[in-house]
């Protein structure tokens, strides 16, 4: 029988019961690779409940640093009897099944073409521990120990991590190390040579960090100077607001007074959370909310008001699948159009698309600046895949000389000096007017904020000409935004080509991997990673330079493609959608298969390589 043999390049999937304490053990396993210099990409696949239902944790070990989901499973750690059948089915032929063999299982529950590694976990636990909770918790650490031995993970890498985790809690440290050792020893003695997936120390991690996008965005909001946060709990965005709270508690409490330099309100719903952010932005605080699709739906009216009244608002949308619960704990990029044209009337909004936690951090701070500079709602479009999974990425950076961009706020001194103040007056030609904050000056600069129905000096006006004048200025402002937002990243093929591909957000790691394979195959394809809407000049050029452009995204309706076709006025025929939307993160395998098939249809021949690289 075939036996998968691999070093530093395989996928391990843990099937657990939600709430059984497996999460921290599994994370320990994932992190041990990083300590050995090997990149990993872990992913949670979890149900919409707290306890008792199945949950999975998938770890891709990837020496080359491909952080997208690979697809397929080489080793299944099957700890959940409920999902056994499906879990066993998912293993690649020649792969491995690791399970608790305390109770004998009939032959029919296994597969002929996989290798089975059994360890009597329950038995070991029951003979070592008396407390039921301990039996459960240490079972997880024991299997991590056994896996470490089977794969040749350096035990020091794991004991070091345990040491860090229980620093200052020595009472817990020792039993955990003991449990780990127990599993390790058992596997060394009894299971030696059974697993063909091995780990060898490498040097491919560098100074990268492992962090989830929600924590990263929250930290970006702390660094970016957000002082007001209003939110309403919704998966997968809740942990963002919670991280913001946690970081603020640590980093934003005034040392002398013990008082908070932040205000966080858990609102009664998303209508209220966006209302609070609007009020705070109007009054000059940097404010944000974090939500997901259903929350954005509820916020529509306010988003329009903030657009027309020109109020800085930062909205972080951690996208998920469909309405209601269930699918929502899966990932998608399906709010693109919802956000781009959110609200009634003629509106369009600035969107930023981070590819990973590092950009979540960076763009969160940027979005606070942009919202203030442009005096408008700015959406940070992440998704569950980035938001709720830890991802290896470049370390966070902050330039201490960076000042917050407060935008065009007219001061009391300027008003006093007689500077002309028209709230909706375009003085600089960029479509961005000046604003004043409430309470600035006793007699100058106050105005009445309302949606439309106003002239350049914020006086009530129902004149059509005033309305049109204002709407045109808003368009100029949107035009100005093009150069302020993060610019796209272009990757050119080795030879000139008329075929291009567009992608964005969490598709990035899988796309990079797919491109390496296509390069290898001699397929010439230029790519552009879009990082923001409105689309800048570079995107317009890219699209016009190519005869065929694949648009790769994680939704059913090719939403970014629609936005490109609509905004750039390009021929829809040349924009070919490549769509993945089953709720799992897109894979390089999927992208390759789809692009190769389309290339075949387009009759594009790979260019034979002259020399081996």
């Amino acid at each position: 029988m075939k036996k998968i043999e691999a070093v530093n390049d395989f996928v391990v999937k843990f099937a657990n019961v939600n709430g059984s304490g497996s999460a921290s053990a599994n994370e320990l396993f994932a992190k041990s690779f990083i300590r050995m210099g090997i990149p990993v990409s872990p992913r949670n696949i979890f149900p919409s409940n707290i306890q008792g239902l199945p949950t999975w944790y998938e770890v891709r070990v990837t020496e080359k640093g491909y952080l997208g989901r690979r697809g397929g499973v080489d080793l299944m750690v099957a700890m959940n009897p409920q999902t056994w059948t499906a879990d066993v089915k998912e293993i690649e032929p020649g792969g491995y099944l690791f399970y608790d063999n305390t109770k004998p299982m009939p032959q029919s529950r296994f597969r002929e073409d996989i290798h089975v590694i059994g360890i009597p976990l329950t038995e070991i636990c029951n003979s070592t521990y008396t407390d039921a909770r301990e039996r459960q918790l240490f079972k997880n650490i024991i299997y991590v120990g056994a896996l470490a031995a089977l794969m040749d993970i350096e035990p020091e890498a794991i004991t070091e991590l345990i040491g860090e985790q229980y620093k200052g809690k020595e009472k817990l440290l020792k039993p955990n190390v003991n449990a780990f050792q127990m599993g390790y020893n058992y596997a060394q003695e009894k299971l030696d040579g059974q697993l063909g997936l091995k780990v060898r120390r490498a040097d491919n991690v560098g100074n990268k960090i492992l962090v989830d996008g929600n924590s990263a965005a929250a930290l970006g909001c702390v660094y970016g100077g957000a002082s007001v946060c209003a939110w309403y709990p919704i998966t997968p965005s809740s942990s963002l607001a919670e991280s913001f709270q946690k970081y603020c508690q640590r980093l934003r409490v005034d040392k002398e007074s013990g008082r908070n330099k932040f205000a966080i309100v858990q609102a009664e719903d998303e209508l209220a959370s966006i209302g609070m952010v609007t009020g705070a932005g109007w009054n000059g605080a940097r404010a944000f909310t974090a939500t997901s699709g259903p929350g954005i739906s509820l916020m529509q009216e306010f988003i329009g008001l903030a657009y027309f009244a020109e109020i800085p608002v930062t909205i972080i949308d951690v996208q998920r699948g469909g309405p209601s619960t269930g699918m929502p704990t899966r990932t998608q990029q399906s709010d693109v159009l919802l956000c781009a044209y959110a609200s009634h009337g003629d509106t369009k909004h600035v969107l930023l698309f981070p590819e990973d936690p590092n950009e979540c951090f960076e763009f969160a701070a940027t979005s606070l600046d942009l919202a203030n500079r442009l005096q408008t709602p700015v959406f940070l479009m992440t998704d569950l895949d980035i938001g709720m999974n830890t991802r290896l990425c470049e370390p966070f950076r902050w330039d201490d000389s960076r000042e917050y961009d407060r935008g065009k706020v007219m001061t009391a001194e300027e008003l006093e000096a007689g500077k002309d103040f028209g709230r909706y007056l375009d003085v600089d030609g960029d479509g961005i007017p000046y604003r004043t904050l409430p309470g600035t000056h006793p007699t100058k600069g106050s105005y009445f904020t309302r949606g439309t129905t106003k002239d350049r000096y914020a006086r009530y006006s129902e004149q059509g000409t005033d309305y049109v004048d204002n709407m045109r200025r808003l368009l100029r402002k949107f035009e100005s935004a093009k150069e302020m937002v993060p610019q796209p990243v272009v990757r050119r093929a080795k030879q000139k080509t008329k075929i291009g591909a567009v992608y964005y957000g969490s598709t990035s790691p899988s796309m990079t991997e797919a491109m390496d394979v296509l390069d290898e195959q001699g397929v010439m394809l230029d790519t552009i990673r879009i990082r923001a809407f409105p689309f800048s000049e570079a995107i317009v050029e890219f699209v016009s330079e190519h005869d065929q452009v694949f648009v790769i995204e994680q939704n059913r309706d090719a939403q970014l493609r629609s936005l490109l076709v609509n905004e750039l006025n390009v021929d829809p025929a040349k924009m070919m959608p490549v769509l993945h939307y089953d709720g799992t993160p897109i894979t390089a395998r999927f992208i390759l298969a789809e692009i190769s098939e389309r290339m075949r249809l387009l009759n594009v021949q790979p260019i034979k390589k002259g020399k081996a690289a």
Binding site: V222, S227, R259, N260, D269, G279, A285, G439, P442
Partner: protein
């Protein structure tokens, strides 16, 4: 940031208040509401109250939802920033604005449609949270701006202009505010400026969520016989529990009253609130009794007005959130940004 007003030339006969402003400095644009609309009287009362309280006009932020009532902030305090937000959502905007800058006076103006129907959720939560603001509902029992449909405060059995009888039971906003934790609750009538002005002053001075339900007849759609929100009806059925006098500072008290009918309620900011009791047994610091008394009057078809409830030890949302004394909108990168050294440590913890 405060910016001192330059001395201005005043009409010599117009009296100025302690901060150097005449009453006219508190006025706004000319109202576009129907002549005789109760809302305009409330605007006048707000102007009077702010002038008497010696608040610099630009230190007030006026916020409203949508409706005839919500248009009124344009018609008073012309030197204040105003925000005509969206229908029923003024409370959340006021909450956010207040979080950003705790140093301004927040005045929320809303209608009964705005607050009792579409916005009842936000109304409830702003009261619960104790946002330091004065929340005035200009209550006419109808949707004025959309031409006279019943609102949720219309009494059961009251008749619309076209003769339709309202069958739904009414929402009493003052009772609701009490139930939800407002620390200052009053009711008044737009036609009774004597009563209304001191109530607005006391509400503004109160350091927490203050709510005033002001019955404010809509002359266009709800001032006919059969309406329970008409001028005539409210005049005939108004029962004031007390009469309030309010002085911004202690030294101003000059009036004497007969012993026994008067209680002084000292305020944290040094102002004095003096209640002349018209119902000797009524204690405005007893929340449960207040609710009971409102209910009993309502059952008789009467409107109980005056200062209905006051918690002298009120705290506001900033106290609950333990925020710094400086307004959050004044904080700069120096105070807000933890810096690159800290970030390096965070990076290290993520390896």
């Amino acid at each position: 940031m405060t910016y001192l007003a330059k001395p201005r030339l005043h009409h010599p006969t117009l009296p100025v208040n302690k901060v150097g402003y005449t009453r006219r400095d508190y006025e706004g644009k000319v109202s576009t509401l129907c002549a005789g609309c109760g809302h305009d009287s409330i605007s006048a009362a707000i102007i009077q109250a702010c002038w008497e309280l010696n608040i610099e006009p630009h230190r007030v932020a006026k916020l409203s939802g949508i409706g005839c009532s919500s248009k009124t902030p344009d018609y008073f305090l012309g030197n204040s920033h105003g925000f005509n937000s969206v229908h029923g959502r003024m409370p959340s905007v006021a909450t956010g604005a207040n979080l950003a800058n705790r140093d301004l006076v927040y005045l929320g103006v809303s209608g009964d449609g705005d607050s009792a129907s579409i916005g009842i959720g936000q109304f409830a939560h702003v009261m619960r949270r104790g946002v330091n603001m004065t929340y005035i509902v200009e209550n006419n029992g109808v949707y004025g701006l959309t031409k006279g449909q019943f609102s949720a405060t219309a009494d059961q059995g009251s008749k619309s202009k076209r003769g339709v009888v309202n069958s739904d039971s009414p929402i009493d906003m003052a009772s609701l505010a009490l139930l939800l934790g407002a620390t200052f609750v009053a009711r008044s009538f737009s036609g009774d400026k004597q009563q209304l002005v001191p109530l607005i002053m006391a509400a503004i001075a109160h350091p927490g969520a203050s709510f005033i339900d002001v019955i404010s007849p809509c002359v266009a759609f709800n001032n006919h016989p059969g309406s329970t929100k008409s001028y005539d009806y409210v005049r005939d059925h108004n029962d004031a529990v007390n009469r309030l006098d309010f002085w911004p500072s202690r030294d101003a008290i000059t009036v004497d009253y007969a012993q026994g009918d008067v209680i002084d309620v000292p305020q944290h900011d040094g102002s004095i609130m003096r209640l002349r009791k018209t119902h000797p047994e009524y204690d405005p610091t007893d929340r449960l009794k207040a609710m009971d008394m409102i209910g009993q009057h309502q059952a008789k078809g009467e409107v109980l007005t005056g200062l209905l409830y006051l918690n002298p030890d009120a705290e506001d949302l900033h106290a609950h959130l333990n925020t710094v004394n400086v307004s959050l909108n004044q904080l700069t990168a120096r105070e807000l940004c933890p810096g690159s050294d800290v970030l390096e440590k965070i990076n290290a913890s993520l390896r």
